[in-house]
């Protein structure tokens, strides 16, 4: 990978869970996908994000008990875990996809850390 190039990040998030600001994606090319509920995170969408060139994919969901549709966050987590197994199987780093439970205090910092530390890379 060309280190001068900004990493590409695709963020899937529940529109109920948080409001994005452009500054939080400093240092990377970000694409965001808003969903009515994180349960709409389908495995195919996550894989297609990688196919479209994402180095990393993040799925940001409401806290499990805070999901408006009660099971959405749990479903999203299961899908992420499933896609991780696929990535492992095909020899990609499964750390390239992560699931973050939204916490108003921590989320922005967490995303920044991830971008700066290049923690997740395909």
């Amino acid at each position: 990978m060309n280190i001068d190039k900004k990493p590409k990040l695709t963020l899937f998030h529940c529109l109920n869970s948080f409001k994005e600001t452009s500054s939080m994606f400093d240092g990377c090319q970000a694409k965001t996908v808003k969903m009515a509920c994180s349960s709409m995170t389908k495995d195919i969408h996550l894989l297609k994000a990688f196919e479209a060139g994402a180095d990393a994919v993040l799925v940001l969901v409401c806290p499990e008990k805070g999901c408006r549709y009660s099971e959405g966050s749990m479903r999203a987590k299961k899908r992420v875990d499933y896609v991780k197994t696929i990535l492992d199987d095909i020899g990609m780093d499964s750390r390239a996809i992560e699931y973050i439970q939204h916490d108003s205090q921590k989320t922005t910092g967490l995303i920044k850390d991830i971008i700066q530390n290049n923690d997740i890379r395909a």
């Binding site: 894989l47 196919e51 095909i90 990609m92």
Partner: protein
């Protein structure tokens, strides 16, 4: 339904590696219901394969299609156009579907993308259980509707073995003892006397032991 589970991706990669253009063909009936080979699974598999080949710097062209039922000629027909322009077809249908394709397209390469597992039901969301062996000679009536041929690990027809404890089969803590279920059910139905009935050796001639089976319906043959 017939249940199946997708083969490990690396096995699939080995199967399709010799070909440049591959059609992944799903089936919209049983394997869709058990999340092995419906439209969604075709899309995920195609995407995963593209990513994998890209990572290995290999090229492959993948097309996707899902027909309603791969085990019926009239639905298979719909796949003919895409099959013709691909080097091979990876079928995500059960073994019957794969072989129906082979009979219909005698010159095309058709590969299996799933392992066909059993005749069963979705007991609860995401959990499938085997219920029937297709032995060709159903005796569920006497067993209160629970099949010991399929659900007893030792196919015992005259009562449970000595290994069952607290309703659980000795071979797997996740498996109910079929005979425990039979007794429970017969108790509910007030038919416990069925337990005393002697069941003679089963005639396996109607099962696979009698060789591949054929069902003929004269009244439907023209």
């Amino acid at each position: 339904m017939i249940t199946a589970s997708q083969k490990p991706i690396n096995e699939i990669i080995k199967l399709i590696a010799p070909y440049k253009k591959v059609l992944i063909l799903g089936c919209g009936t049983c394997v869709k219901t058990c999340f092995a080979g419906g439209e969604d699974e075709v899309a995920v598999l195609a995407s995963a394969l593209r990513l994998s080949f890209k990572k290995k710097a290999m090229t492959i062209e993948i097309e996707e299609q899902t027909v309603e039922r791969q085990c019926e000629n009239e639905f298979i027909q719909e796949a003919s156009v895409k099959m013709a322009r691909n080097d091979a077809t990876l079928s995500l249908a059960c073994g019957a579907g794969v072989q129906a394709m082979v009979k219909r397209f005698a010159k095309n390469i058709v590969l299996p993308g799933v392992n066909t597992t059993f005749i069963g039901i979705q007991e609860s969301q995401g959990i499938f259980t085997e219920e029937c062996s297709g032995c060709g000679n159903c005796e569920l009536g006497i067993f209160g509707g629970v099949c010991p041929v399929t659900r007893c690990a030792k196919k015992l027809l005259n009562g449970p073995c000595g290994g069952s404890q607290k309703g659980i089969c000795e071979i797997n803590p996740d498996t109910d003892c079929a005979w425990h279920l039979i007794i429970e059910r017969l108790t509910t139905l007030g038919q416990l006397d069925n337990l005393k009935t002697y069941i003679p050796p089963k005639n396996w001639d109607t099962s696979l032991s009698g060789g591949p089976r054929k069902l003929v319906r004269e009244d439907h043959i023209i």
